[in-house]
């Protein structure tokens, strides 16, 4: 346990919902709207936590356990993420495997909760979610193997700080390829365009949103919060790889990390404003493409 890691952990708990606000503001800017307040996600979570709940008669305890287990998994994942100059709360060899599988835990129970409603729509979303995430997993784990070899480390808190500007200079193509793969994983896992459209209004076209149609009240609040934490975790991973500011001065490193993360949020907003969602049959090609990028990076690293 690294107690200093609790600082960025707490920071993430507080700031993560802001990412959603930044993305939505960016999209509003492109659309020429004023947009929702930057703090809208905070308001939403607060309001949902104060509400009662409606449960479908079809559902069982699995439906009720889903949001809690997802949130617990995300909090666990967050504890494994090193940020800026800080090591993660928990760091050990192969911690990123645990991180990837914690995301898997959250997904597994979200999917089961969706199937628990017996709704065709939620089944559809669940089916798509497991399909795309199964394809995204190799891209993530192979990409991390590539940067792990480049940095000579086996834990995130060893790998990410070792990716300095000097590493970038000597191995720019490799790291850029991994960063590109991680960007695709980031967009896919967080249900953003071009994989999923969080703003869609038609159940038939949703993936993540349709799985949580039946949740309400504090459960929905937990889901919303877990999803912004996921945005933070995968975004943090991407920024950690792509932004090699390692001055050793805690404040500068932390500030550059946060700057990078919110720039990523802006980039996500830009992507969502300038791109259409891919057709569902095209998405596997994108994800396999990301895996290919990771493999290419590995080949370059091995060379």
């Amino acid at each position: 346990m690294n107690l200093e890691g609790l600082v960025p952990f707490a920071l993430a708990l507080v700031l993560a919902p802001l990412l959603l606000g930044v993305i939505n503001r960016t999209k509003a800017f492109f659309a020429g709207r004023r947009g929702a307040p930057l703090l809208q996600a905070y308001y939403d979570v607060a309001k949902l936590l104060r509400k009662g709940a409606v449960f479908s008669r079809t559902t069982t305890w699995v439906f009720r356990a889903g949001p809690i287990l997802s949130l617990a998994a995300m909090l666990g994942g967050l504890a494994l993420l090193p940020v800026g100059g800080f090591p993660a709360v928990v760091a050990f060899e192969g911690d990123f495997v645990l991180l990837a599988y914690l995301l898997g835990v959250a997904r597994f129970f979200t999917v089961l909760a969706a199937l628990d409603t017996g709704s065709a729509f939620e089944g559809m979303g669940a089916s798509r979610d497991v399909t795309f995430s199964a394809l995204a997993e190799p891209a993530l784990l192979l990409g991390l193997a590539a940067v792990g070899r480049e940095a000579g480390g086996l834990s995130l808190s060893g790998i990410l700080p070792a990716l300095t500007a000097a590493t970038w200079l000597s191995a720019a193509p490799q790291i850029a390829l991994v960063a590109a793969a991680l960007l695709v994983v980031f967009l896919a896992e967080n249900a953003r365009v071009p994989v999923d459209d969080p703003d869609t209004h038609l159940e038939l076209t949703m993936i993540h949103e349709v799985m949580i149609l039946d949740h309400s009240g504090p459960d929905l609040g937990a889901i919303l919060y877990a999803s912004v934490l996921k945005l933070w975790i995968l975004g943090g991973l991407l920024v950690g790889v792509a932004l090699p500011v390692r001055t050793g001065t805690v404040l500068i490193d932390l500030a550059s990390f946060l700057g990078g993360l919110f720039a990523l949020a802006v980039l996500t907003g830009v992507i969502e404003s300038t791109m259409a969602r891919l057709r569902l049959v095209r998405i596997p090609q994108l994800l396999v493409g990301a895996t290919t990028l990771s493999i290419l990076a590995l080949i370059l690293v091995l060379r």
Binding site: L112, L115, G123, S127, V130, I295, L302
Partner: protein, 653 residues
Amino acid sequence: MTLLLAGLFVVLAGGFLSLFPRSSGLLGAGGAVAGCLMGLVPAFAVLAGGSPPSLRLPWAVPGGSFHVEIDALSAFFLVPILALSALGAVYGVAYLQAWRGRKAIGLAWLAYNTLVASMILVTIARNVVLFLVAWEMMALASFFLVVFEHEREASREAGWTYLVATHLGTAFLLAFFLMLGRESGSFEFDRLHPPSQAGLFFVLALVGFGTKAGFMPLHVWLPDAHPAAPSHVSALMSGVMIKTGVYGLVRALTFLGPLPAWWGWTLLVVGLTSGLLGVLFALAQHDLKRLLAYHSVENIGIIAMGLGLGLLGLHYGNPVLAVLGFAGALLHVVNHAIFKGLLFLGAGAVIHATQTREMDELGGLMKRMPLTGATFLIGAAAISGLPPLNGFVSEFLIYLGAYRGATSAGAPVAVPSIAAIAGLALIGGLAAACFAKACGVVFLGEPRGAHASGAHEAPRAMGIPMLVLAVACVAIGLLGPLLMRTLAPVLIQVTALPPADVVTSIDEAARPLRFIAGGAGGFLVLAALLALARAVLLSRRPIHESVTWDCGYARPTPRMQYTSSSFAQPLTDLFGLVLRTKRRASAPRGYFPGEAAFASETPDVWRETLWRRLFAGATWGFSKFAWLQQGRVHLYILYIALTLVALLIWGLR
């Protein structure tokens, strides 16, 4: 040693006693439970560091003596075999009640107990003849269990396939052992020494043991035979019997001496193929037990990948990779026994309650069978490799070994390591998808037919074994680091590395496992706290019950739910090239459509292509000799006499 042999005797005696007409199977099950519990004592004693007991008795059979021994490797395989056999026996008492009066239950127990006894004997035999006899006993006992419902054509077909496959495998083993014994000049295991053509022997062992283990493409018998057997037998066959193949392979490797790199590569490729195709074919199934059977192929693949990495680590002098690969593979043997046993028992409870294995007719069983549902869900999460359960621990070890190889070793180790990472990642995601489907379609939602809506919870004798196994899934997830210690003597024996190196590597591997165990505990505590917070938040709020959101459609029916086929459709389409799913559909026509139907079936691609052709060829070839078969006994006696004379002459030469 005496205790285990006494246990063996008790198991067999129970089997024979259950043949008495009035016994209800309690004698058979009681014998199995008592014998297995007796056997667990020496097995645990050896794993705890005790000296391996052995016994050597002279016997009349040619080829050495009656020699048995419990060394660390035997003990490591014995523990899951004994534990799962005992639990399966308890479960079987209740499960076989349904056939009471219609079937010879006593015979089924005789076969079950013989299967248990022969598995014990296989792991402790130290003589080629004894080993092969036990191996054959195991095959025959399980064959009789597979054809338990021999009035069904599918069961007979499955039994036939199994019988052919297992004997082809045994033929390879016969060649392996006889040739090895001839070169070594002894049929005692401890006198077998590395042969000159080790590569040939490796292939023989790989095919022979791989057929039992279910390596692709030798797995064809598996998805037929496991579903056909009664569920507690499926649990035993899938959980531990196929592991005797892994045991045999590992044992064979200890005979073969220094190993070339291509053995490791072969096992890795076999593992990747079995793992990936196993899980893909599982995804395409909608028969619950068939799906589970394909997952056994997948998990055997993961085990083979671990072994392959271990061999490569040994070859390239990378002890950490060797230890991690073997440790992950061996631990996965135990873990798979636990969760696959659990899942097959759960599937049995579902079949017991609903009389169908067709997932698309089930649904909503979580409410009707809460214990079965909850334990099945734990098993499903465990087999998907999700933390904080046991499946993650063993997969993590293989991952860790592979990442070590991928990040710090030279290209000859790094490339296979990367392949293993890619394979494990894809397999993991697909397995999670498949078990989300199995769990979701069978237990969640609304019943899709009358079978499911009238279901009831399983009787207690079936519930308790499932509960025990589910607890074991959680316990191993939390106690991973402790298990690593018990692996040390096994790994020292298997890798033949200096004990100090092995212990150092194990300690290194145990360090992250401690974090994972702590993390698993933390996760459970965190989830409990969040659940508490949720309960507090909701305690003073209005909570309503309603229907599932249906987009305003007024008359939703359970038939509108996603089914197992539709859930897996994006993935099966994506991999359609290998799966070759056959679809039959009659689309709705006209403005007021009447009937519409859809059915899909995914037969095994290896069976349909490779094996069908091969056996068609064999049939054609053998039909040329049909004139030999006249159906007259005196002719056959003549053939035997002629053969003997010919052999005599050849011997005199």
